[in-house]
Amino acid sequence: MQEFLASNQLAESLKRLVQGDANARDDVLEYSGERLRQLTRKMLNDFPVVRRWSETDDVLQNALLRLLNALQTLQPANERDFLGLAALQIRRELIDLARRFKGPHGLATNHDSNPAEDRLHQPLTTFDPADLAQWTEIHEAIGELPDAEREAVDLIFYQGLSQDDSAGILGVSVRTLQRRWHSALVRLDDRRTR
């Protein structure tokens, strides 16, 4: 991530994007694509049932297409806005995906393992609709956090940034960032156990 953020090329591309250079969109996506892929994989790792139906990179491709579409119209003024937008697209894609799979008529119903992975000596995993529902709820709940807390979660969770980097991007102290992070997690957990 350091490499991603420290990349002069990314900063340069974002600058060009802000100045209205349409070609900069592709560059920005290229630089951030790898990071976004890691995130999606990380988030899907716990859900083999989802991976069975829609591979990590398919999810990411959709998220990137959404992001590309968003960048057609919106011009993020800085890294902070761009990373926020990217997190938003991933969140939406994952929520959509989970909705498609869960429920009595979801695609995943009555399919309880991933045969391909069994062959690869992965632990046998069983589909638990409750997990998938909770997963959706977490992403939705993050979307409804107060702005300051949601930004902290976007950067630390969705973007995988360190607290230092996140605080730098938001222009706040690390302590403030940590406060927001704690508050967001407590709020999310309260909501989950409510």
């Binding site: 349409a22 790792n45 579409n69 919106l74 702005d147 992070w181």
Partner: protein, 612 residues
């Protein structure tokens, strides 16, 4: 209240101490932390538990330092690959690296492909093995040959023949080939890819840079990283490649329909390569990746009559057959494509059209120009008259049929928008809109069968007076979709409602509700029904989409509303500078709402913006 906030602040402060301790590698001592604030210990413990639980669920390991150094680790070869001597890195992409190496026992140069990381992710590993297995199953002179598969430490690798004549992409950059040379080469590629298809493997990423050329000009297909087994359900895609090189994607790939990718996907790619070799450009060059994708999805490939005049018609027809939008309209197999190319090369008629018949007709027209014109005109006129009659008859039937189909939906629209005031429970003006007889009462002229424009119901909806504007925060304006249903129903004679519709005309959209909230919060003061006058009434959905067209459903970039919201200059910006602005997320919500087709605002008051 103040005390509560102070308490919460103290606990938050204690949490910061706890955070510092855990990040310093110590086990935080909660008792010590609370030494002076014992009363806060239960709350502190509760929050710590919450934080740890949520971090566990999210899989986040919190650190002030960058977390994922391992993500970027290891893009060098392992120190030792048994049996090989590595010379240099010759290519890298995605998760893989390709080295030039010497196989010591045979003293031959090979290309050694391996994963970039020492501890590869499971899906990288799976894809890599899939690729090795795919190529190993194929034995064809025009497909890169694998010599060996093995593991170097924790990294799998495979050794394949080393090909040093560059790629087809290099060749195209240097010059476009003659039509015959091009047909020969694509025919060879089609035979090779047919071999893969016969083995149950679809390449899915055919492009000139994946076709390696030997020194003597023999093409060899490589990079099966995206290959899919036809008999296996899962479909791997590699985003970097797809996003990076959309020019060679088929419409089914561009549309994200990975399940539909099959042998015809490769045939489309061969068509793209054929087109590029003939013209020097891919069929759908775009300003950006997304522009190219859009063109692939919506436009048909053509050859320019002027600049491509030198390309034989038969070859153009073969190429365009490969580039058909629907997979079933392309060649059924790569072998069929190769056969047609071979027919072209041996000057035989190709299957895509009948040149001999066309030639005969052309010759006849040249001999009898006057007759040709007269005949064409007469036939055209006859066809026109016939089709006009059939069309008007068919149209009348279709209008009636449509009315019967939408009648239950028309009932649903009336029930939702009008029945709250003019229904069974509340019969204002003695009207129950669900009473078909009352609705068609000729004295009231509410619904004049077959004449929507004379029907007062439609007039009142169109002039915005029904439902009453003052209720617009609760009852949204009738959307264009709903209005069309009513118009169609009336145009076809306003038949009986029939069964209750099972599916609402307008599905509830949480996003539309969010956008309604945003508009309510940020725009409504200046754009409410009684303030806006002739301007934009922000909650009037049909006004936005169809009357004033400031929102173009599905097309945010051409929506004036988006341009106003994202205007960089103070002049023309909405909301005006000085007023509360939309946050970037809210702007994105509006944009996404438009992209999804701007679904109508749901009924009901907009929910208070929760703690934002």
């Amino acid at each position: 209240m103040t005390d509560e906030r102070d308490d919460s602040e103290i606990v938050a402060e204690l949490l910061l101490h706890w955070e510092r301790a855990r990040q310093g590698g110590d086990t935080p001592d909660v008792d010590a932390l609370c030494a002076n604030h014992l009363e806060f210990k239960p709350e502190l413990l509760r929050r710590i538990k919450s934080i740890e639980r949520m971090e566990g669920r999210l899989g986040v390991t919190v650190s002030t330092r960058p977390q994922d150094a391992s993500d970027n680790a290891g893009s060098s070869p392992p120190a030792d690959v048994p049996g090989y001597e590595i010379e240099c890195l010759i290519d890298r992409g995605g998760a893989g690296l390709v080295f030039k190496a010497v196989e010591i026992a045979l003293q031959r140069t090979v290309a050694l492909k391996m994963l970039a990381h020492d501890f590869p992710q499971a899906d990288h590993l799976e894809r890599f093995r899939r690729e090795a297995e795919a190529i190993a199953r194929l034995q064809h002179p025009n497909i890169v040959h694998i010599h060996a598969i093995g593991d170097a430490g924790s990294r799998p690798y495979y050794a394949m023949e080393f090909i040093d004549g560059g790629t087809l992409a290099d060749q195209i950059r240097r010059r476009t080939g003659s039509p015959r040379e091009t047909a020969e080469l694509v025919s060879v590629l089609a035979r090779a890819i047919e071999n893969a298809h016969q083995a149950g493997i679809v390449h899915r990423d055919l492009k000139p840079s994946n076709i390696l050329m030997t020194i003597d000009g023999t093409p060899k297909i490589g990079d099966f990283g995206l290959a899919k087994h036809l008999d296996v359900e899962t479909a791997h895609t590699r985003t970097g490649d797809i996003i990076g090189t959309p020019a060679y994607m088929s419409p089914e790939q561009a549309g994200g329909d990975t399940k539909s990718t099959g042998a015809q996907t490769d045939i489309h790619a061969l068509g793209t390569i054929l087109y590029e070799m003939l013209t020097g450009s891919t069929p759908f060059p775009g300003r950006s990746a997304i522009h190219t994708l859009q063109r692939i999805l919506t436009e048909h490939a053509v050859f320019s009559k002027r600049s491509h005049a030198g390309i034989p018609q038969d070859l153009q027809a073969i190429c365009l057959k490969c580039l058909e939008k629907r997979p079933q309209d392309r060649y059924s197999t790569a072998a069929d494509l190769a056969d047609d190319l071979d027919r072209f090369l041996s000057n035989q008629p190709v299957t895509v059209r009948s040149p001999s018949r066309l030639s005969r007709m052309r010759r006849w027209v040249r001999r009898h120009p006057a007759w040709s014109v007269t005949l064409v005109l007469a036939v055209a006129e006859l066809l026109f008259l016939l089709s006009s009659w059939r069309q008007s008859h068919a149209e009348a039937l279709a209008i009636q049929q449509r009315a019967i189909e939408v009648a239950p939906q028309a009932r649903e629209v009336l029930e939702r928008n009008c029945a709250p005031c003019h229904g069974l429970k509340r019969r204002e003006r003695e009207l129950d809109v669900l009473d078909h007889r009352l609705l068609l009462d000729s004295n009231r002229r509410l619904v004049v069968a077959s004449s929507p424009e004379s029907s007062r119901l439609i007039q009142r909806i169109e002039d915005g007076s029904m439902p009453p504007e003052e209720d617009e925060l609760i009852y949204p304006r009738v959307s264009q979709q709903e209005l069309v249903i009513l118009q169609d129903w009336i145009a076809g004679g306003a038949p009986a409602f029939g069964d209750t519709s099972s599916k609402p005309v307008v599905e509830y959209s949480a996003l539309a509700m969010t956008v309604k909230q945003i508009f309510h919060e940020k725009c409504y003061n200046c754009h409410r029904y009684d303030v806006a006058e002739g301007g934009i009434k922000i909650l009037h959905h049909r006004l936005l989409t169809d009357v004033r067209r400031v929102v173009v459903p599905g097309d945010p970039s051409n929506s004036e509303l988006m341009q106003l919201l994202t205007q960089q200059h103070a002049k023309g910006r909405m909301p005006p500078i000085g007023s509360p602005q939309l946050s970037p997320e809210q702007i994105e919500d509006v944009r996404f709402w438009i992209e999804l087709g701007a679904p109508p605002f749901p009924m009901g008051p907009s929910i208070e913006m929760s703690n934002r």
